[in-house]
């Protein structure tokens, strides 16, 4: 159908590793490095060179044999691929511990996302500012989403409010939800939900620790 139907498959694991490369590359750039090979990148990030090369492939940036990739070009390529070159506005709902932390988290601001305001139901919070951004009443969210054409919502409300607030976001026009609650949101197919689950990371840590311990005990036995 297209003149050039490349139909490149985008593997999620690769996408998720891109910010890691980006972070290292930005440091290299500050150090004045012009070129970087996958070998060096792999060493920095603790992965195999082959993984790095495969990952960078999706950005479309090409390197030169014996030399590597040009650092600035690679940074731009990754930012471009992720759409992080011009920051996207986002609203955050639920200014609790985690919500406040996210509003002040530098890592988000550096990565193409601009939290323009926080929303909450707590009268004590409404009207105040958190890390320079004002906290507004939750009921004002839909109207502001429409007026400012905000497409991304960050959900840090308590579990029992998650579904309701998510629906509020969606019906106002939010297209992507970064979900920090434990709730599995029921949304239509055109809404993108990224669930950020701390407990799954903890589960992975627990199991890996348990296995490491068992392995050590086996070794001691023999």
């Amino acid at each position: 159908m297209d003149t050039e139907a490349v139909e490149k498959v985008v593997r999620m694991p690769s996408v998720k590793r891109l910010p890691g490369y980006l972070c290292i590359l930005r440091r290299f750039q500050m150090q004045g490095r012009e070129l970087v090979s996958t070998t060096h990148l792999a060493e920095e990030i603790g992965l195999a060179p082959i993984v790095v090369r495969k990952d960078l492939e999706i950005t479309g940036i090409t390197g030169k044999p014996k030399v590597g990739y040009p650092v600035p070009e690679l940074i731009e390529g990754i930012e471009n691929f992720l759409g992080w070159n011009n920051a996207t506005d986002a609203f955050l709902a639920g200014v609790g511990c985690l919500g406040s932390a996210l509003m002040g988290y530098q890592g988000i601001r550096n990565n193409g996302l601009n939290i323009v305001a926080g929303f909450d139901n707590d009268p004590a919070k409404i009207g105040s500012t958190v890390h320079g951004r004002s906290i507004l009443p939750l009921k004002k969210l839909p109207d502001l989403v429409r007026r400012m054409h905000v497409r991304i919502g960050i959900l840090t409300v308590p579990a029992d409010a998650a579904e309701e607030v998510a629906q509020m976001m969606i019906s106002a026009g939010i297209k992507g939800i970064w979900n920090f609650t434990t709730v599995d949101l029921k949304t239509g197919p055109d809404i993108v939900v990224q669930k950020e689950d701390l407990s799954s990371g903890l589960a992975a840590l627990s199991v890996k620790l348990k296995r490491a311990k068992e392995k050590k005990e086996e070794e001691t036995e023999s």
Copy 2:
């Protein structure tokens, strides 16, 4: 070698989904439900029943046809598999925005991890308490790790201090590090590191949103 070498493979994706089931199952238990089928669990969590069945397999708990799994047994089975039945002590280093949030985050406390103290270098923070836990000077961490036999460290320090503090933890006897920094820690093979990377989640969200948008535009064209 063993009398019963079952040699069951533990798939990480399955492990990471277990906390999700656990959360739902606890709610079911509060509602007084005695039994649950994978069909119902799958519906709740938004996955295919077959996935759920495969995942629950690793806990060793068995269900009955036409009936399902006994809820309390399944909860215990998952908690047992993850080692979440008796809480593990942990230290947190770096009481900034994110560190404070984690110290107050209920999800951690409910899931087998007990943050007993926070550590920081900032004199303004030292001596205070955050969510009921005291903040101690970072240099006291190694001694306390040894005396209290703490095995898990949570790393929420700034990027440039990450490697140093991690080494401090490891040489004191910490075996598992929950790493919230952007740094890829260089550790030995017997140290387990779980990197919790918000930016990779954001990358996934960005790409999924971009693809959804492109798809919609294609549909509009035709």
